[in-house]
Symmetry: C2
Subunit: 355 residues, 2 copies
């Protein structure tokens, strides 16, 4: 079968031939429909994040997949079920985090991530997965199913952020998304359509006309140009934010978020940057945390319940959003544009097959 | 009556004469027993924190009080009840935060703090308080009642910290208190006696012999000398901490805490420092937050439920702790040693009367 992989020493995806996998006991064989491409894939290819499976000279890419059960192999699924796989797997079969359904909380060394670190991903004609890591989705979501994983990332971040505010009566009205990439825009759409924020904002650094600014405004949100309004000046220019969602991976944003928050607000950090030293007014930020009861939480990955929540969410988002957000779906034989990241590209996927 | 106040332009406490207050409707008149002294009082006197009541040339100090109801004045209390007052009051009678019992979550301008900002404190022979801000405590706690307020500060911080970890199964075992002042030591004792941490640590910068190190070790905790082991090197020297409680007000600690935490850990920040610029590896800290699901929460003040929890807590702490912790209780006519802060001083109080 065909697979899209990055080979050791290379930084570009290549189509390779691999044997079709055989499902083991408890696993189903899935025929891949589409696999989304995101910033993590680019980091994996450049070597900035992730790692090859032990002893392998290549890593099959892709962690945002949707497929059709080809061979249920005795699992709870039936042939033809449309499914989305989760990303983390236990290196040694299982461990306490996986046993309690929270692989997203496993520390280093207690997880692989398919397509990212230690295990091959889903960009191939077929893949196998233990049944407990497959989420069935409605057939009419088959074409959009590769968005379930990224949306699940925000479901988890929101759950942790809201939990941090659960010791008191929190009535959030304003939310700011840092970053106008596909995850930022999906999150902004969730803030508008499922999270009930009254006023939403999205920060980027683009000139008009720009397709992401069009989406931001079509969603009813306010575009904040970071070149005019740095994150820590957002309260002066707009208002203090009850919730800030960081999806830029730009470390100054993580710390400026503390000042962007309204009293009692929370910031969720999602980016995975490299080391970078810079100066902060640590005294001022420390005081801000304390005197205004602020919180920052970091969030990575997601688990089955977040995928299930994402399936509910995707059905509440407007169709036009997906039409505008998905700027290209490319056949495995025309791979290159799926990995472009120009300003006209928002979200792409590689298509292996259709229903 | 006598009162201990700081006058505008001065930085030392002075005993002044003031008229005994008359309770208004809904208020009780309380005869003061003891009022504790803490770091906030020193910050208020130096002008680093807090502020005088409008139009007044002095501020009566003290926010950690215990007293006896002298005149119930039609409230739910009886003459002779031993009570502890909360600290925050609404500038304009009330507002939404006070109405829902969460004055500790009120933003700037929507609260006064008695003895700290905008309202006179409790260091006087008598004080009045609305009944809803008085917590009755057992008579046998009268001498220790001034510790209820500082303990309530930790009850709130713990509540918020644990809430931030409530979206998953958190099994904390290790806790580190930054700071060996009285609040740090009380918190450490709570970690040992009521919070069920298996291993606890307390960071200071003192040479042995030292009375705070004696308390740390008597509690069964490990003393960490910050001159040998900086906060961000605690995981290498000991272990990653599930919970870090910052009670130093030293801003680098707020950010080093991120590295001191174990995966999925939370840091509670309590200090109120001044502006101070310094360099951090913001990229590394940002990545630590995200990849290890870490959290930082700031916490200030506390409300009635935290005071009630503190009354339960104080009864679970060992008597020797209070004997060692309270290094001096001084009559209002011998005030000066109550405001000393040498290395042999841990916790002091000013005594106005006894039961």
């Amino acid at each position: 079968m065909k697979a899209v992989a990055v080979r050791r020493g290379e930084e570009q995806p290549t189509v390779i031939e691999k044997p079709r996998p055989d499902p083991e006991d408890g696993e189903a064989l899935v025929r891949t429909l589409r696999v989304g491409v995101d910033g993590t894939d680019h980091e994996v290819m450049s070597g900035a994040h992730g790692g090859f499976p032990d002893g392998e000279d290549h890593l099959v890419l892709g962690h945002e997949a949707v497929g059709v059960v080809e061979d249920p192999n005795g699992t709870e699924f039936s042939e033809g079920d449309v499914v989305v796989p989760t990303v983390r797997r236990a290196p040694d079969g299982t461990n306490e985090y996986f046993e309690r359904g929270e692989p997203d909380m496993a520390p280093d060394g207690q997880y692989f991530e398919r397509g990212i670190v230690g295990a091959h991903g889903y960009m191939s004609d077929f893949f196998t997965s233990p049944e407990e890591f497959l989420i069935e989705i409605p057939r009419d979501l088959a074409e959009l199913g590769f968005l379930v994983e990224p949306i699940s990332i925000t479901e988890k971040a929101n759950e942790h952020a809201y939990a941090s505010r659960s010791a008191f009566q929190w009535n959030p009205e304003s939310a700011l998304v840092l970053g106008n990439g596909s995850l930022g825009l999906l999150t902004l759409a969730m803030f508008e359509h499922t999270e009930e924020f009254e006023r939403t904002y999205c920060l980027g650094r683009r000139d008009r006309p720009d397709p992401t600014i069009d989406i931001i405004e079509e969603l009813g949100a306010t575009y904040v140009d970071s070149r005019e309004t740095p994150v820590d000046e957002v309260p002066a220019a707009h208002e203090g934010m009850d919730y800030v969602y960081e999806a830029t991976g730009y470390p100054p944003h993580a710390f400026q978020t503390i000042e962007a928050l309204a009293p009692n607000g929370v910031g969720a950090l999602l980016g995975v940057p490299d080391s970078w030293e810079f100066e902060i007014d640590g005294g001022r930020l420390h005081e801000e945390f304390v005197l205004h009861n602020k919180a920052l939480i970091g969030s990575v990955n997601s688990h089955v319940k977040h995928f299930e929540a994402a399936v509910e969410t995707i059905q509440q988002l407007p169709e036009w959003l997906f039409e505008d957000l998905i700027t290209g779906v490319y056949d495995v034989d025309n791979l290159s544009p799926a990995f472009d990241d120009g300003d006209d590209v928002i979200k792409t996927a590689v298509e292996f097959d259709s229903l």
